[in-house]
């Protein structure tokens, strides 16, 4: 299978699941309170930041070049 298709499926899968979850939550008759919405917002942000941290752990930044030293 084309790697781009695999990548697109990888990307779309979790997003679709998250959206279905949100849609189900939104289908509930009661609206979220401000505090519930705020908690959702923080939780979503934490999830995104955690994914970034996980990726960073596997891809550490290259050491900064010391301007005083030779690039070699």
């Amino acid at each position: 299978m084309n790697p781009l298709v695999i990548a697109a499926m990888n990307i779309a899968g979790p997003i679709i699941l998250e959206l279905i979850k949100r849609r189900e939550a939104n289908a509930q008759p009661a609206y979220k309170t401000y505090d519930e919405l705020l908690a959702d917002f923080m939780a979503t942000g934490d999830k995104i930041l955690a994914e970034i941290d996980l990726w960073r752990a596997a891809h550490p930044r290259p050491p900064l070049h010391d301007p005083g030293s030779s690039p070699e």
């Binding site: 084309n2 790697p3 781009l4 298709v5 695999i6 990548a7 697109a8 499926m9 990888n10 990307i11 779309a12 979790p14 997003i15 679709i16 998250e18 959206l19 279905i20 949100r22 849609r23 939104n26 609206y31 979220k32 401000y34 919405l37 705020l38 959702d40 917002f41 923080m42 979503t44 942000g45 999830k47 995104i48 930041l49 994914e51 970034i52 990726w55 960073r56 891809h59 930044r61």
Partner: protein, 130 residues
Amino acid sequence: MTLRTRHWIVLTVLLMLLACSKVPPDATPEYVRLARIDEAQVWLGTLSHAAIALNGVNVGEPPKPLFSTENTRIVTDIVESTIKTLRKVPVSWKATVAAALSEIRTRLDAAGKAKFNNYLAAAEAAIGAL
């Protein structure tokens, strides 16, 4: 980008639009703003998730990531700092997110721009409509 990949992106965008959170008719301006920021944050997460997923796919010989590690670092760094800014300064959220998307577009290299343009365009359109 293949036609099938574009279809996946279009499908994802449509689902995201359908999943937009409902705002009660008597919502306060603060509630409406938070709902919009929440949606914008989902888009930012989509961008960083897409970059990380594309970075995890290796193609060619020798195998190279479909989306380079340097480009992925640019996207994740900007998304991270934007989410932290949104938490601290929610009032100007739209300008903050627009600036972040613009910075990603500017800082990606040519190959990165070519691969990521559709994702950025989708995010810009969706956030512009919020």
